[in-house]
């Protein structure tokens, strides 16, 4: 009896001891080693899935789409879900075939056993569906798909330099894509989740989640209708003159809003990464050059504003030959006494130089800077250069006579358009604007870019006098710039190209330009046309013969697009004048 009782006690104690050991181990696992095993389990089953943000759209002033996204997939592999070498080979074969990849490269990637291997980005919907279906049919797993977006530009090469393009990481590399990248980009989200042994997500065990925040829509000031006009004219002109490059800018003078901006040569933005960098360069803001006679508006405005002269003051132009500091300055058409008005109309180099000499170097320099030369205009495009204005014209003793006629000074096209806008709007220098508004993905207005007045440069009275002279330029000198029924104000420029080594000028190589606005009495737009090195003989390569006709064609079409109404009386006068000239 006692033996049986001892046995029973022994069995009980053994059981208690055994269960205590098990319990102890369980407690040890649950409390002491909890963190370690929990991390191990998480590593095995929990995955962080990125949720890509959709990049914001870029639209024009009227809401036409300039840059959009198309849904694509990023194909990635979780090699830990592919059970054996046979399956690994099959997955590699199917994936490589469907995605048009090298099979051995895919296989070697899968053999690393890693849990997140990106196989291909920007895979279209059809291909990804086919791949998924084929893998599903053969019950293979380990290949997954992430939602992503591919950037598309529906207008190909239109406005290419302004819109810009992206790199492979979807970061802006040029144009608005770069300058507005922070707004367009958005924020990628993520989701922690668990997968079962077949690789399917277990929704029940979804963990922390942050939704993607899509990028904002950026609205530009550019009107695609006007952009189409200037690009067509630019292409036509470049086919005719075969220049090295050309630029047209259309600007609203009162607000500084850029209505259109085109550079030639252009490129297809959808294929930007295969284009030489020189072609993707926005010449309107990244190229500087000597402007030539279009710069004479600066010295004449300054002299009138400082009341050193008035528009009737006579300046002796030395009969077309003026010697200063042992160098001779010549006029294209020799003249005696010229009023300030006529200095502009006849584009007298000597007259301009004498005005600057009367003003003095320092004062002229101040006006040059006040018109915005020598500093970036502040347009929302990346990499804008400042041009070059030496202070006050440095050691070059001839600069005081050369800068007034647009030599020994370097400007950008946007600076020229901006400076003429100041004349057109009554004397205020406006900051050129290319972006007008930012909208959230649900269409709420986030920011509005109001016009920015940089400074007042000259008085309205001075601008009226300059405008009167610029009107006469198109009536008497650059008649090719006229537009039937409209009063045009503008100035031509013909500048010899500087040698690459900076020593002197190249023969028969010119940068010709026309900078004008219309209607002169109530300006609605400023149009700057620049043609770099047109393949023409020197005697035909002038601003008045090359750039002015381009301006005229552009301005006429722009006027129609903007519904500007021609003055029938003026039109009749122009026709009468034209027929009289033909008879003569």
């Amino acid at each position: 009896m006692r033996t049986a009782r001892s046995k029973a006690i022994f069995v009980c104690v053994s059981l208690v001891a055994a269960f205590s050991v098990c319990s102890g181990r369980l407690i040890h696992l649950q409390y002491v080693e909890h963190e370690e095993f929990a991390t191990l389990a998480a590593e095995k089953h929990i995955v962080k899935i990125p949720v890509f943000a959709k990049r914001g759209r870029i639209i024009d002033a009227n809401g036409e789409v300039l840059a959009d996204n198309i849904a694509v997939k990023t194909v990635y592999a979780d090699a830990s879900h592919i059970p054996n070498p046979g399956a690994l080979r099959s997955v590699a074969e199917i994936t490589a075939r469907q995605l048009q990849l090298d099979q051995s490269a895919v296989l070697s990637k899968l053999e690393t056993g890693r849990r997140y291997i990106v196989l291909k980005k920007e895979v279209d919907q059809i291909t990804s569906h086919n791949l998924e279906a084929e893998l599903g049919k053969k019950k293979l797993r380990g290949i997954y798909f992430l939602e992503d977006f591919h950037r598309v530009y529906p207008n190909d090469d239109m406005l290419a330099h302004v819109i810009g393009y992206l790199d492979h990481e979807h970061r802006g590399l040029a144009g608005i894509e770069k300058s507005m990248d922070d707004y367009l980009q958005g924020y990628d989200g993520y989701r922690y989740t668990e997968r079962d042994r077949t690789g399917r997500e277990i929704v029940l065990y979804r963990g922390q989640e942050r939704p993607a925040q899509n990028g904002y829509t950026v609205q530009t000031t550019v009107q695609l209708g006007l952009q189409g006009i200037i690009e067509r004219e630019l292409t036509e002109a470049c086919a005719k003159y075969k220049p090295r490059g050309a630029t047209i800018i259309l600007m609203e003078p009162h607000t500084g809003a850029v209505m259109a901006m085109a550079s030639w040569p252009t490129f297809d933005v959808n294929n930007a990464n295969n284009v030489p960098p020189e072609v993707t360069k926005n010449h309107a803001i990244l190229d500087m050059y000597e402007p030539g006679s279009t710069f004479k508006i600066v010295v004449t405005s300054a002299a009138l504003e400082d009341k050193i002269v008035n528009d009737k003051t006579l300046i002796y132009c030395e009969g077309g030959r003026f010697s200063y500091n042992k160098r001779v300055l010549r006029d294209h058409k020799p003249a005696g006494n010229l009023t300030v008005h006529d200095i502009i109309v006849k584009s007298s180099n000597i007259g301009s130089a004498k005005l600057a000499l009367q003003m003095g170097e320092q004062r002229f320099y101040e006006y040059t800077r006040a018109f915005g030369f020598g500093e970036p205009t502040g347009i929302d495009l990346p990499g804008e250069i400042r041009g070059r204005v030496n202070a006050p014209f440095g050691s070059d003793k001839l600069a005081i006579t050369r800068v007034p006629m647009g030599q020994a000074v370097s400007v950008t096209a946007i600076q020229m358009a901006s400076a003429l806008s100041a004349i057109a709007n009554g004397g205020r220098l406006m900051m050129p604007q290319i972006v007008s508004s930012i909208y959230s993905p649900d269409g709420q207005s986030i920011a509005r870019y109001d016009p920015v007045e940089v400074r007042r440069v000259i008085s309205p009275e001075t601008t009226q006098k300059i405008t009167a002279a610029l009107i006469d330029v198109t009536r008497k000198a650059a008649t090719a710039a006229q537009v039937p029924g409209f009063l045009v104000a503008g100035k031509t420029g013909t500048a010899q190209k500087v040698r690459p080594d900076g020593k002197g000028y190249m023969d028969d190589r010119y940068i010709v330009s026309f900078n004008g606005f219309m209607p002169a009495d109530n300006p609605k737009f400023v149009c700057y046309v620049m043609v770099d090195d047109a393949k023409l003989p020197g005697h035909m390569n002038y601003g008045a013969t090359v750039a002015a006709p381009i301006f005229s064609k552009v301005a006429e079409k722009v006027a129609r697009q903007l519904d500007l109404r021609p003055d029938p009386v003026l039109m009749a006068e122009q026709l009468k004048h034209a027929s009289k000239q033909e008879r003569d």
């Binding site: 036409e64 789409v65 959009d68 996204n69 198309i70 849904a71 919907q125 939602e147 598309v152 529906p154 207008n155 190909d156 239109m158 399917r200 997500e201 277990i202 929704v203 029940l204 695609l224 209708g225 189409g228 039937p484 029924g485 006429e556 006027a559 129609r560 519904d563 109404r565 021609p566 026709l575």
Partner: protein, 123 residues
């Protein structure tokens, strides 16, 4: 049966048995409910995953179609279609244009009905 005999008899305590049966049934039921609800949750999760995927597919298709519409109605495409003659533009008779800025020429043109409408084109 005498009182003494009844006292020493092993009686079945029905109430206690029922009590324990109920307790274990309850616990069992709770366990089964837990499993059932968990299964249901997993099934719902699966359903949700499928619906999310379906929704994403619809969204992708919508996005693709939207993009196609954008491409087809882009200015470049329309210009090309216009150049090829696939579409044509018809000039709007100025008499049919109403300008909201008060500069409407309609009245003048209606008064001179026999005069041809003014077209703002370069001659």
């Amino acid at each position: 049966m005498t009182r003494n005999r009844r006292k020493h008899e092993n009686s079945v305590r029905v109430a206690a048995v029922i009590w324990w049966v109920l307790v274990f049934s309850g616990l069992g039921g709770l366990g089964l409910s837990y499993v059932y609800i968990k299964n249901q949750t997993i099934a719902c999760g699966e359903e949700r995953r499928k619906l999310e995927r379906e929704l994403r597919d619809f969204s992708d298709r919508s996005n693709t179609l939207q993009q196609q519409i954008t491409a087809e109605s882009s200015r470049l495409t329309l210009d090309r279609k216009l150049a090829s003659g696939y579409i044509q533009m018809i000039e709007i008779d100025p008499i049919r244009i109403v300008r909201l800025d008060g500069s409407n020429p309609v009245v003048a043109e209606q008064n001179s009905a026999h005069e041809p409408p003014q077209i703002y084109a370069r001659q």
